[in-house]
Symmetry: C2
């Protein structure tokens, strides 16, 4: 089932890409380039699965599924400008490959195209209105989340509730909306749509926490990603904020952590395939490794791994509780539940 949906999505994105072979090339090539980058395409898949969960015709969900993927890609292109990110999914970002005006404009067009795709779905008016309204609310929230993220970058410290609100807006709301859009297309009632949204939202938060955790405690070989990037870039992850909280009542720990955090961030290391290859010399590599080791030691001392895992479980449990309320057969539910569990374990 999932494989079938994934194949459909890949085919449809390919078709869309051909359709977007238009002039001016500077506007449309970056869109096709971004679409071709791939990624896991989890968001359109969630639209399809949300629709299927309620026994809807998944063909009706294809155009909206493409819409959320385009919207997601729009956010990536604009976020990369704001973050000065040179790489994304190991490929050169749009504003680096072309330039900032082109990245702004092709991002803008992606957003409009997302709306155009939503309109392409031949949904009954009342369903279409709901889908559009949910999509609009999501789009606003994602922008708000990104703005909080940009704001928080400038702050020395933020609270853990601030962090949760930010990742909810920036990451979780889109995942929740994908499921809800699918559910609405599939014919879900108001209550079911609300519960599936809550399920998606809390799963999304758990997913982001897992992401924070894997950066420090992940299996490098398994995830193909250099560890410690968040530490090197002084990124305000749940792990760091929690460690800061704990350190606030321990003078030694506080000084130790703050000392490492005063080192200038090296954000460009995050998206690199090989850490050492990027460092200018032996000394840089040694410094970086030392920082990662030292901060990890603080995390270990403060029991951050366990605390984060408990937090992940707590959000996962909340998610499942909402999902249980959804009025659909256990058999139907299993597909989505297994998929999100696999996502959390990063087995997909």
């Amino acid at each position: 089932m999932i494989k079938k949906f994934q194949d459909t999505i890949a085919e449809e994105i390919e078709k869309l890409s051909v359709e977007l072979s238009l002039p001016p090339a500077e506007l449309y090539d970056p869109i096709r380039y971004t679409l071709a980058m791939g990624g896991k395409r989890i968001r359109p898949l969630l639209v399809m699965m949300g629709c299927d969960l309620f026994g809807g015709k998944t063909d009706d969900a294809i155009a909206p599924a493409l819409a959320v993927e385009l919207f997601h890609n729009f956010t990536l292109v604009h976020d990369d400008i704001m973050d000065n990110a040179p790489l994304r999914r190991n490929k050169v970002t749009v504003h680096s490959k072309w330039n900032t005006p082109t990245a702004i404009l092709s991002g803008d067009v992606m957003m409009v195209k997302a709306y155009q795709l939503l309109c392409r779905s031949k949904l009954p008016p009342h369903v279409f209105d709901s889908v559009l309204s949910v999509f609009n609310d999501m789009a606003i929230k994602v922008c708000e989340g990104q703005q909080w993220d940009v704001n928080y970058e400038q702050l020395h410290r933020i609270s853990i509730p601030q962090y949760f609100k930010m990742i909810e807006l920036k990451t979780a709301v889109l995942l929740a909306t994908c499921l809800k859009i699918g559910a609405l297309i599939g014919g879900a009632g108001k209550e079911d749509a609300k519960n599936i949204y809550e399920f998606g939202k809390n799963t999304g938060i758990a997913f982001q926490l897992q992401d924070d955790l894997l950066d420090v405690y992940g299996d490098e070989e398994k995830f193909g990603k250099q560890k410690g990037g968040d530490i090197l870039s002084n990124k305000k992850t749940f792990l760091l904020l929690k460690a800061m909280d704990i350190a606030s009542s321990n003078q030694y720990l506080k000084e130790e952590l703050e000392q490492w955090m005063t080192l200038p961030p090296t954000p460009e290391l995050r998206s690199q395939p090989s850490l050492s290859a990027r460092l200018s010399g032996e000394r840089g590599a040694k410094d970086a490794a030392e920082k990662i080791e030292a901060v990890t030691r603080i995390y270990d001392f403060a029991n951050i791994k366990k605390i984060t895992e408990e937090e992940i479980n707590s959000y996962h449990t909340k998610a499942v509780e909402s999902f249980e309320k959804v009025y659909v057969s256990a058999e139907k539910k299993k597909v989505l539940l297994d998929f999100t569990s696999m996502l959390l374990k990063r087995e997909v």
Copy 2:
């Protein structure tokens, strides 16, 4: 009638602005700042007038009217980043007052808000679908127009048809769409909606040509704008492109014009209230005045003023021809026709 619409629009924008007093301030303040800049708010007015022309309830057109104004402001904020413009309507641009990430994001939110406002209009489904579809097509075209403009900035020369296509997409299509959206809400049929669109499009092109003309031949006191800004910034206006065309068969004129065009552009002069105040010294002011004078002399020699006026008349005539086909009483038509004529004469 027009005054009543203008008052309604001003009130509704004020209400919207209050509604948008939200956190994060970095995201919403720039939107309210942009809305407060004012401008002539011609676009929302055209939506209202388009609706009224067909005897529609203009209350139904308010939300879509705000939507086009927000969309227009979104394009201004993003365009100003791309153009490195320090000022807009004599006020500091968003990216200069805040920063580029904030300008990108608040522009993005403006676009989403535009869609949200469209959805707020409680239109019958078939009208809403048409309005949304027309709006989407317009949004894509405006982005394409801006990309062509960005591309053409890099070229030494573009053809006159390329110029017309660019201003059609970048400027005229939005004006045409405003009228068409209003017409659809007012109950216009397909043929009438098409004709009103053509009327708006050709009026928009005439309007842009007039803008080009006034920069060189306008009455400074009347328009409160320093003349010659386009000449100083080497902007590829209709006047310059036509002069280049004519000069291509006149070696002396060609060399003279090219010599002036090789001077570095001084785009920041364009939006300044006082030219001389911006120039670093006597010498700069003298050079600028000399360039404006010399290029104007070339234009005079090549009869550019008359040629441009003929072109404006030709587009205006085309516009009026389409308008005549619209199946509405002459009395009703007069309001809109008088308004666009006033616009062209810059009396409004």
